[in-house]
């Protein structure tokens, strides 16, 4: 192993350790969606929504929302380091930008995976049964659907101060989740459907819904997710560049 990859591995290991130790972060991304799922689906475990069992429907929705929150928060943590002046200290090290950002994204994804696994366990406890390939297809597509949100996290981590980060992050993810159909479809036809289908969160929710639809995104979904990834990544890159020029 080359010295630089050993360096980035050690760095990433400690970054993940930090993510695990941050209890507020854990609470936000792990406990919240889980509690919401249990509160909604627990008493209604035998109910159905348009022929779909309610537990699997809300499990998919909470997976989308919880995982989205986790990866956005992963990038949002940059804000704390900037406020502490720590990003300046890091710029005096040979640490590359890509390693730095990758560690943040991986931290967010690790949390997202925890959220997903917890919600799957809760779903199974409430009677959700899926074939193995459905679990896999759903999980895989959700992880892909998170990519634009990871970039969004890095962007707002550079843009916002820590005191505005919490409310902003909560608001943005809740809005994306609501419009994306986490708590039920917002539109089934017309202009409104066109609008929500242009959102990345719509396709993230659709990725969760693979659990009971069995069908993936199609061209449109891939295009929308790619387009938002490009936009958020460009904004994140610009914010990073501006940050380098310092205050």
């Amino acid at each position: 192993m080359s010295p630089s990859s050993r360096a980035s591995l050690t760095y990433q290991r400690y970054e993940l350790l930090r993510a695990l130790r941050n209890t507020r972060f854990l609470l936000f991304s792990l406990a919240f969606p889980l509690i919401l799922f249990l509160v909604i689906a627990g008493p209604n475990r035998h109910a159905t929504l348009g022929g779909i069992p309610l537990p699997v429907y809300y499990m998919a929705g909470m997976v989308a929302w919880g995982a989205m929150t986790a990866v956005v928060a992963g990038g949002g943590r940059i804000s704390m380091e900037r406020a502490a002046g720590w990003h300046r200290q890091l710029r005096l090290t040979p640490l590359s930008t890509s390693t730095y950002l990758r560690a943040k994204v991986l931290g967010g994804y690790l949390m997202a995976v925890f959220t997903i696994v917890l919600l799957y366990a809760a779903g199974i406890a409430l009677g959700v049964r899926l074939p193995a390939d459905r679990w896999l297809a759903m999980t895989g597509l959700v992880l892909v659907g998170l990519v634009p949100f990871a970039a969004l996290g890095i962007w707002i981590g550079h843009l916002l101060a820590p005191d505005t980060l919490g409310p902003a992050m909560g608001g943005i993810t809740a809005l994306f989740a609501l419009l994306g159909g986490v708590w039920g479809p917002l539109a089934s036809h017309g202009v409104m459907l066109q609008v929500v289908q242009a959102l990345p969160s719509y396709w993230l929710v659709q990725a969760g819904h693979v659990a009971f639809t069995g069908t993936g995104w199609g061209t449109r979904g891939w295009l929308v997710i790619s387009a938002w990834t490009v936009v958020f990544a460009a904004l994140a890159a610009r914010a990073y560049q501006r940050d380098t020029r310092k205050l």
Binding site: R6, R18, N22, M80, A84, G85, Q89, T93, R245
Partner: protein, 312 residues
Amino acid sequence: MPTNLTNLPAGIRLTSLVKSYRAGQGLVHAVRGVDISIAPGETVALLGPNGAGKSTTIDMLLGLLPPDAGGVSLFGMSPRDAVKAGAVGGMLQVGSLLRDLSVRELVTMMAALYPDPLPVGEVLELTGTAGFAGQRTEKLSGGQAQRVRFAVALVSNPDLLVLDEPTAALDVEGRHAFWTTMRGFAARGKTVLFATHYLEEADSYADRIILMARGRVVADGSASEIKASVGTRTIRASLPGADLAELAALPGVAGVDRRADVVVLRCADSDAAIRALLGGYPQARDIEIAGAALEQAFLHLTGDDVLEESPR
């Protein structure tokens, strides 16, 4: 390899550095043409009052801030390349440390980023942080956090160590320990540049002092050279109506100031000056001769020229 860089003739070179920034409605000329050259192995103090441009100069030196004009060369490289090579370590005036890690974990994490770090255990001992190495960084006192910052800078084992106000949060004992460690590090042939507004620190711990004021270098040399450049003693006398230019021309006099009826002569040779003064100005009264401290040189050179109020 970074460790061999100190063998290269090229040290630190700042050439005609200029930096302005917007503040409120005006433009602040933080650095107005700074030329500094530091040989490998030197320990240099960047001394000056607040607002002299020390931190801005350091930020440009480290590549954290691009200069408006001028250039920076560290061991023949751009700051960015020198940092990438692991040749530069810095202790900045940062607000707080990275949280959710113990002191030992933080230092280990940072050490991993460098090609040739010092052993973590050794650095914890040297910086006096071993006693609380298991503590989380967010639970430290200001002085402890400052020592950890030093540990982070030191563990990188850089060829150039840059310290911005390194003893700001330390008590007397902490300062002493800090400078002992810093000297030990410098003795390995490393280049050290530290910014301070404590004259005493610059005088005691630097081979050379670069004095900055209002964005410029106003003096550069050893502490004794700087003292000499502004005169080693002062003569004060009540001398109403005396012509300052004539007084300045007296033998042994380096400079003259007037406060009401009192004139103050800064002297390179106070013996010659007093003889000439008494010979030429028999009306002079209330004569005092005092030795100038580095502090007076400092105040004079930085333009906060308050010889009247300075002690001694």
